[in-house]
Subunit: 222 residues, 2 copies
DNA sequence: TTTTGTGAACTCCTTCACAGCT
DNA sequence: AGCTGTGAAGGAGTTCACAAAA
């Protein structure tokens, strides 16, 4: 369930505020979803709620973390050390959630050997060796669009099985490799569409309301 | 439809490669979706296809752009000029798609007056004046989590009606304001979950397969 | 009495399959 | 012959509503 990370974060916030238990209604409100949905989602993890009381905040955090596989650190690498790659490398949220940045790759000679976020930038030629040596399964792709597909193939060949794709390209990967896409332009275009609608543009029959809460299913070949 | 921006980009790629027409099958393949879905989506825009031939690439780009409201430039501002805000400001995809960066806000005194991506950084106190003066409707929120909600309220009061939220917080906004969320940690956690599953973790009954292509519906109050 | 857990209804999206146009 | 447009079937996720537990 893609909502578990969201619940988990909301719960961590609550734990920080010294809350011991939450009801499905309270959790739903904080996460911005329906309470029945919360109960159904959590019921798939097993029966961890107490009727008449709610859920134990710390216990639920542990359970969700375990299901998501966040109990151990995971090595990640970033490919492409432009503005975006650099921002991602410096993003504190990664380390906080157990993602350990172990390698940065960029062919730019001026960057080679430089340190970003405490990690030295290597040439992409080192991908195969580094990925194998550090047992990296997750790669963050922040390269120019033209090299997105070839770089993806190289990463997959090197042993990468999960890719977080920041390029504006649909990546084709073999079965067994997961891809999540973050497309900044698409997000902005959807907001532009909302603005357009707000200003009384031609309503797309039957779909103007739908577009409000819809999203592309992030495809993956699992 | 949240898929229109994706179709549009694929079509622009095709136009660059001098393709004149596309079949729903070809477009579907390039966009990574089912061809019936493509035909149904496009049929909502009107009948722009020619049976036996396909769709006119340029015509379709125009039609989608019109529906999405991408025919005119839209002013956007970025709030928070940390690593991420800076990377976003420099992102070339924004300008290419008709998003004009008109203001950057950050309270950091060392940044005030500095130029990033050709735009001077202003103090957040200038939000109200700038937003009104430049007719900005879209804001990109890249501030620390603690100030996400108060800053959101300030933006909404200033007249912002669409927010692209990069903070790890669920924003509460009045009806009529759209929010899209980009959460880097959540994306990584979902990939971690896939890795976890791959390594033979406890399958969450009935949901392990589902999680492969699921996603949070990006909520918005429209 | 409060709140969970869940069968059942519902709603929406997706996919099929084919009639009809070019 | 090829490909669109769409009614109908199918499937998946959401919400309702209530029985059961604390």
């Amino acid at each position: 369930m893609a909502r578990l990370p969201l619940y988990r974060r909301v719960l961590v916030d609550m734990a920080d505020r010294a809350l011991l238990t939450v009801s499905s209604v309270a959790l739903a409100e904080a996460a911005g979803v329906n309470s029945a949905k919360v109960r159904k989602d959590l019921s798939y993890l097993g029966s961890y709620g107490i009727r008449g009381v709610g859920y134990d905040v710390d216990g639920l955090i542990q359970t969700i973390s375990r299901v998501l596989g966040l109990t151990s650190d995971r090595a990640v690498c970033i490919v492409g050390v432009g503005h975006l790659g650099r921002a991602l490398a410096d993003y504190p949220g990664f380390a906080e959630r157990g993602f350990r940045l172990v390698a940065l790759f960029d062919p730019d000679e001026e960057l080679l050997g430089a340190e970003v976020a405490g990690v030295r930038v290597s040439h992409p030629d080192a991908i195969e060796v580094s990925v194998a040596a550090e047992d990296v399964a997750i790669a963050i792709l922040a390269v120019p669009a033209q090299v997105a597909q070839p770089m993806t193939e190289r990463l997959v060949n090197a042993g990468i099985t999960s890719i977080l794709n920041f390029t504006p390209r649909v990546l084709s990967v073999p079965a067994g490799v997961s891809v999540r896409k973050v497309d900044l332009s698409v997000e902005l275009e959807i907001l532009a569409f909302h603005e357009h609608q707000r200003l009384g543009a031609v309503p797309v029959r039957g779909l103007d309301a739908v577009a409000e809460l819809d999203d592309l299913g992030h495809a993956s070949a699992g």
